[in-house]
């Protein structure tokens, strides 16, 4: 195994752990709304770090991105499609 690969994977792991600390700190320091925004932004960054580096998505072809993004898009549509239900009905 090349040392360059090992070092890269270890650095990504350290970033992931550092981002966990950021989330936990945000939850205990920041006001609720700012904390939630930061926590979920950090979760998205962590997921992207894993997907791009550990799942090697950054080296994959467009068809693989399509396979992932199309169901993800449907989930987002589902989420925002349900929002009016509680916004207008409580």
């Amino acid at each position: 195994m090349s040392n360059a690969h090992s070092r890269h994977y270890l650095i990504i792991w350290l970033w992931l752990l550092a981002l966990v600390i950021v989330s936990v700190a945000a939850a205990s320091i920041l006001p609720k709304f700012q904390a939630l925004v930061l926590i979920f932004a950090v979760a998205i960054v962590k997921a992207l770090l894993v997907a791009r580096n550990y799942m090697h998505l950054k080296n994959e072809r467009a068809i693989i991105y399509a396979m992932v993004l199309i169901p993800l898009m449907f989930v987002i549509i589902l989420l925002f499609g349900l929002f009016p239900d509680f916004v207008y009905r409580g």
Binding site: V24, A47, R61
Partner: protein, 191 residues
Amino acid sequence: MNANAATINDAGIPPGKTGTWWFLASEIPVFGGLIAAYIVVRLGSSGWSAASSHLNFTLALINTFLLLTSSMTVVMAHAAAQENDFRRVANFLGLTVLLGLGFLGVKAVEYTMEITHGFTPAAGIFWSFYYGMTGLHALHVLAGIIANTVLWIGALRGTLARQGHRVELAGLYWHLVDIIWIFIFPLLYLA
């Protein structure tokens, strides 16, 4: 890599990898739907923060560390497989399995503590979601442990060398399980 695994389809991707990504794509609506329902129901009602304050944050943090670390060890196993170093593959897969078992062990302790305090799945809507989301995730962890154990045994016996690409496929699944936890952890324990 054997002859079948080396076969490339029209898109230039090995069929095993295409199949695995299709499978992972099918998991997105499963967990995505559950998470979307959780967010919408939580935003539409009150009292959830009080319920989630009964969760054991320290144990969840330990589990986050275990799962993130296991993602690193499984990608190390994949890198070792590409170098045909199957002794290292066995070491990293063994470590991944141990970390996965550690995750389930900690989760079992957490469930036991919650249930003995009366927080069963019937204790309220938050607890129904909590057990549904974490239980389904734990089942996926268990499936990943089984897959990685089979590969680990193959690496120890020397039979995995003919099917080294399977380490990558099992790794892809394991990373998805990790990504799901990356979202479940803040939703249940931090929000």
